[in-house]
Every structure is written in structure tokens, then in C-alpha cells.
């Protein structure tokens, strides 16, 4: 499944609908659907909020496929270089008074996916996320 979204936060709704359609089509569980929606929302929101400081409308490409027991979700954008694998670990332990707001999105993505690969090529970010599907699905 291919989904082309633009850098507008409302596109997150369309992304969730597409993930839902994909999971229904392939008989994937609500757990897998929730994790895919979450991982893709976090990446997309990052690109939408920080990817294009110069402004203007930009397309973000999303591919979803099922290959050998894994859902493969690919996000490609022409925003500023951003490698999620290099994002710092957030503070998960301070009390509420000093706990920083933000920085949790990429941490969630790392924890709910089973593999991340990042490449910067010809001015584009390409992130490949893998999510293992339990055998019974």
C-alpha cells in the first residue's frame, strides 16, 4: 500500500485510516495496527513539525507491505536530515517537576518496532521500520 501525505498535521488522520485498511486487508491484529499507527504517526509528526523550516508544501511518502512475517513500513521525505537512530534517549526517571516535555516519540518508535534502518540519499530521508507479526496472524 502506498500513501502520499503532505506536511499538514491533519494528514495524521488519513495515515491512521490507511494503516487500519492495510491491517484489515491482511488480517492483522489490533495490537499490530496500534503499533504501526503509533510508529508512523511519530515519524510523520516529526517530519511535519521539524522537517521543513523553510515552509511550503512537501510530500511525504509512506509504503506498507507484508514480507515474510514482518510488516515493513517505509517513510521517505525531502526534509532536513534526521536520523532517528541517533536521537538521544529521553529522561524516563526524573520526578514530574523536572521531567522534560518532548523527546518521547522516537523512544516509542524504537520500543515498539523490531528494526529500524535509516538512509540519507539525494537529499531525502528514508526510514525503514520492521514490525514482526506473530505466527498466528
Amino acid at each position: 500500500m502506498n500513501v502520499v501525505v503532505v506536511n499538514d498535521i491533519l494528514e495524521v488522520n488519513r495515515l491512521h485510516s490507511s494503516v487500519s485498511q492495510f491491517c484489515q486487508k491482511h488480517g492483522l491484529s489490533s495490537e499490530i495496527e496500534g503499533d504501526l499507527s503509533l510508529a508512523l504517526e511519530e515519524i510523520l509528526v516529526n517530519v511535519i513539525r521539524y522537517g521543513h523550516p523553510e515552509g511550503g508544501q512537501h510530500e511525504i511518502l509512506v509504503w506498507l507491505s507484508l514480507e515474510e512475517g514482518y510488516v515493513i513500513a517505509i517513510v521517505e521525505d525531502d526534509g532536513v536530515p534526521f536520523n532517528p537512530l541517533e536521537a538521544p534517549e529521553p529522561d524516563l526517571y526524573s520526578p514530574i517537576e523536572t521531567r522534560p516535555i518532548g523527546g518521547l516519540g522516537i523512544h516509542l518508535v524504537r520500543n515498539i518496532t523490531d528494526g529500524l534502518e535509516y538512509r540519507r540519499n539525494e537529499g531525502r530521508n528514508r526510514l525503514v521500520m520492521r514490525k514482526q507479526v506473530p505466527r498466528s496472524e
Partner: protein, 113 residues
């Protein structure tokens, strides 16, 4: 995102329904801020209808948790679905909020003291 409000003694119970994501979070934020500005001090967020939460929803919880804590006021959560609880666990949020199974327990805890 649907929001229902109910008052139980000095506690405002906010029942949310839907996904707490980057699109829906701003309207919940506005509503909560409005109630705080109107002088509400104690909140119980009934999450029985929340099926999904992303980092935008987490940021909202943290922002209001901090704001209320600073004023010695409080926000408690209840009835978290498993996937939502899991996200809170991964984010290290379980130690930041009082979390209850039922809204009754949450209301009691929020109104104490």
C-alpha cells in the same frame, strides 16, 4: 475525540473517547486549560474510552501534570486500556501519575486532602 465532563464533589471527571493523537490533542488541551483557568483544581481523567495514545497525548498529560503539581493540585488517571498503559510504561509515566482501575477509586483519590 469526544469529551464528557461530570462533577463529583470537588473533582472534575473528564471522560475521553477516541484516540489521543497529534490531531485530537489540541482540543483536549484547550478544554483542560479552560477548566484550570476557571479554577478547577482536581481532575480525574477517565481513559476507559481512549484506545490509542501517541507522544502528543503523553506531552499533554505531562504538561498538565506539571502545571497542577506546581499549584499542589492534582490529576489522576483511571481505566487505562492495555495498549495505552503499555505506552505510558515505555515512556516512564507510571511513576508520574496516580493510576486507578476504576473511576470511583480515582475520584476518591483525587478528592482526598
Amino acid at each position: 475525540m469526544e469529551m464528557r465532563e461530570a462533577r463529583r464533589n470537588d473533582v472534575l471527571v473528564l471522560a475521553l473517547k477516541g484516540g489521543l493523537d497529534a490531531v485530537s490533542t489540541p482540543c483536549v488541551r484547550n478544554r483542560l486549560q479552560e477548566r484550570i483557568d476557571q479554577g478547577e483544581r482536581r481532575f480525574a481523567v477517565d481513559a476507559a474510552g481512549i484506545t490509542y495514545i501517541s507522544s502528543s497525548g503523553l506531552a499533554l498529560l505531562l504538561q498538565f501534570g506539571k502545571q497542577l503539581q506546581e499549584r499542589s493540585e492534582r490529576m489522576v488517571l483511571c481505566a487505562l486500556h492495555k495498549p495505552v498503559k503499555r505506552v505510558l510504561e515505555i515512556a516512564g509515566f507510571m511513576s508520574l501519575f496516580s493510576i486507578f482501575n476504576s473511576s470511583e477509586e480515582a475520584i476518591q483519590a483525587a478528592s482526598k486532602g
